[in-house]
């Protein structure tokens, strides 16, 4: 640790401010929500992401044929259909940048907000994998969809690197209107498996 003097002085100043104890936090807000596949699909689509509800993943991946797609560690073998050039780790920054897209699973999804959360485990890879390719195809199983933000946070391990994704990359910086497509993947496609 560096600069002990600054640390001690700041902590001392805080103590001498003598802020009185606060009232206990009342968590009267909703812990749950209606949830469900339909709500999740609708909310994801609101961000102008592409959403499909499917029963068979390999069939739904046909459209990837002829493309160079990143597939992180732990992606099920049956997803790795023929006719796609699958890019596997180790991959350099440039290789990721030049890929046509990336196929992942997810850790948790949130129906209320149309959010998918990646935690770097099984079928998700390190964070750069879902950032550099311009197209992200994410497979969400029905049983991974939490109803609300509070429910989702309980299911996550905070010390893993987490990325919450709600629609494609966007900006509100020009006249405060949302425009899709800046630095992150400009196309987000979500397959909900029921």
């Amino acid at each position: 640790m560096t600069n002990t003097a600054a640390r001690e002085e700041i902590l001392q100043r805080i103590r001498s401010a003598q802020v009185p104890a606060a009232v206990p936090v009342v968590r009267g807000y909703n812990q749950k929500g209606p949830g469900g596949v339909e709500l999740f699909a609708e909310r994801v689509a609101d961000y102008r992401a592409i959403v499909h509800t499917v029963t068979n993943v390999p069939e739904a991946l046909e459209a990837l044929k002829g493309k160079r797609i990143v597939a992180p560690e732990g992606v099920p073998d049956e997803w790795l259909i023929d006719g796609v050039t699958w890019l596997r780790e180790p991959l350099s920054i440039d290789e990721l940048d030049q890929a046509d897209g990336v196929l992942t699973g997810c850790a948790v999804a949130i129906a209320d907000t149309g959010t998918i959360v990646l935690d770097g485990s099984e079928a998700q890879g390190r964070r750069a994998l879902t950032l550099l390719p311009d197209y992200h195809l994410c497979v969400v199983r029905q049983d991974q969809i939490a109803a609300s933000v509070p429910e989702a946070l309980q299911l996550l391990e905070p010390t893993r690197p987490l990325t919450f994704i709600s629609g494609p990359s966007a900006t509100s910086d020009i006249e405060l209107n949302r425009v899709e497509g800046v630095h992150g993947p400009r196309t987000l496609e979500v397959l909900i498996v029921i």
Binding site: L11, I14, V25, D46, V149, L153, P168, I174, E175, G184
Partner: protein, 474 residues
């Protein structure tokens, strides 16, 4: 002690700057359009939540708890970040923080760093300090980039280039990037993407702020839209995060409140496109060197003021700017600080800690006290109360006068919303008492005020009531 760069050197007082801004019709048009859009969208995003008020109350209580236990929580944060491979630094003021960051950049032999938008680094004037030390800071947030390339100053917390419309942005991009581009927002975004791509892929050091830091896990949280944040937080070898000491939440569970309050209040979305959470260093994923710089820079002084300290609950959503009738007309730059609008009017003078400074002393008057800011604030900061409290302090600083007595009375009135409403109603009645458009006496509690000055006759409907009817609902 060095001057606090939270205000820009040589800025005029608020009324002077505002007068000039009011003559800029283009500016007012841009702001009216942008804030009008966001007001309506925010109202819709909030109306969807049946438990919004409960979330606001929880947000207020969690933040008050943070302020009450700040020393313990900071030490806890330090322990958890250190345990996960991060290094924690402490900075008493802007100068100390800037030196720490510059030394870290030099240790990595970096001459260029990429930056994610951060109010804390803007507040301490980090970019200028780095430049003086030979390190070029590249802003990667679209609006920050517009400000940086336009050699301009920010005018909004969330969208620093809110005062620029699309054709002005086009002009800046063409001039500085040397590219042909249309004024379509999608094309402008594409131009920024191309311009920054190589920087992201090759720069070794990134600097970020933090929206939240979770004391018990050491996790840092950054909310963003474009993916520039993810680029900076993921690709470089070294990440330096600069954060005000009040940005804590005690536990992971507390984020469930703020991840709902912040996106709806700031960009009026159910959720912003990207939120990144990281804890120290993760082998094989993201930066392998992580530094967290905790800055005081006037916060502990603010903490000593029992009324003013609530400003430290602020989560920088900018909702109060977007609803403020004064901000909409004067623009953000009139406030002479990186923190404009209602929050700036109460935060800047407190961080400066010098009410003898003419600009700081003028800021608490940069408001009509209409109360719209309090109504939208996700952590329920009672900005009108703090404003009147600070006005009293300004007057106090000038010496105890009849006006200072009246101001304390006003502060007392504004501290309770109900008292304020009562005073306002009394104010509407007072119109019948006016002679020559001036009131020399008001019924209680306004009488405490008029005992020392003549006030102009108010319109029959109070401004606050009018505003609530006409604008808050938008």
């Amino acid at each position: 002690m060095a001057r606090n760069p939270v205000t820009w050197l040589g800025s005029p007082t608020f009324p002077k700057a505002a007068k000039e801004a009011l003559n800029d019709t283009q500016l007012r048009q841009n702001l009216r359009k942008a804030t009008g859009t966001i007001r309506g969208r925010r109202a819709a995003a909030v109306a969807e939540m049946t438990d919004w008020e409960m979330l606001r109350v929880a947000g207020e209580q969690i933040k008050d708890d943070v302020l009450a236990r700040l020393d313990t929580l900071l030490v806890q944060l330090e322990e958890s970040v250190t345990a996960r491979g991060g290094v924690v630094h402490w900075a008493r003021d802007a100068e100390e923080a800037n030196r720490i960051v510059l030394d870290l950049c030099r240790a990595e032999q970096a001459t260029e760093v990429v930056k994610v938008k951060s109010m804390a680094t803007a507040e301490i004037g980090l970019n200028e300090a780095l430049e003086a030390g030979g390190v070029q800071a590249i802003e990667t947030d679209l609006a920050e980039l517009i400000v940086q390339l336009g050699e301009d100053r920010p005018s909004h917390i969330l969208v620093p280039a809110i005062h620029r419309n699309r054709s002005e942005i086009r002009e800046i991009f063409q001039r500085r990037m040397g590219v042909e581009v249309s004024d379509e927002p999608a094309d402008l975004a594409e131009a920024a993407r191309v311009y920054l791509r190589q920087k992201f892929l090759t720069t070794k050091v990134a600097i970020s702020g933090a929206n939240f830091a979770v004391a018990d896990t050491g996790s840092i949280v950054v909310l963003e839209s474009e993916g520039n944040g993810r680029m900076c937080l993921t690709l470089p070898d070294t990440l330096i995060t600069v954060m005000g000491i009040e940005k804590l939440v005690p536990s992971w569970q507390d984020l469930e409140v703020f991840l709902q309050l912040l996106p709806r209040s700031s960009t009026a979305e159910r959720m912003n496109p990207y939120t990144s959470v990281w804890t120290g260093v993760t082998p094989g994923d993201g930066p392998q060197n992580f530094h967290l710089v905790l800055i005081d820079n006037g916060r502990t002084a603010t903490l000593t003021d029992s009324v003013g300290r609530q400003a430290l609950r602020c989560i920088r959503c900018s909702a109060c700017l977007n609803v403020c009738p004064v901000y909409e007309r004067t623009g953000g730059q009139s406030y002479g600080s990186v923190y404009p609008g209602p929050i700036g009017a109460i935060l800047t003078p407190q961080l400066m800690g010098d009410l003898h400074d003419p600009l700081a002393a003028s800021l608490p008057y940069a408001s009509s006290l209409c109360g719209a800011c309090f109504e939208v604030c996700p952590v329920r900061i009672d900005i009108p109360s703090v404003l009147t409290h600070l006005r009293a302090e300004v007057v106090e600083a000038k010496g105890r006068t009849a006006e200072s007595v009246a101001m304390s009375a006003a502060a007392w009135i504004f501290r309770e919303a109900s008292r304020y409403e009562k005073a306002q109603k009394a104010g509407s009645l007072a119109r019948f008492l006016a002679k020559d458009g001036k009131i020399t006496s008001l019924p209680w509690p306004g009488s405490k005020w008029t005992s020392s000055r003549d006030v102009p006759a108010p319109p029959s409907e109070s401004f606050r009531a009018w505003w609530r009817k006409n604008r808050c609902q938008e």
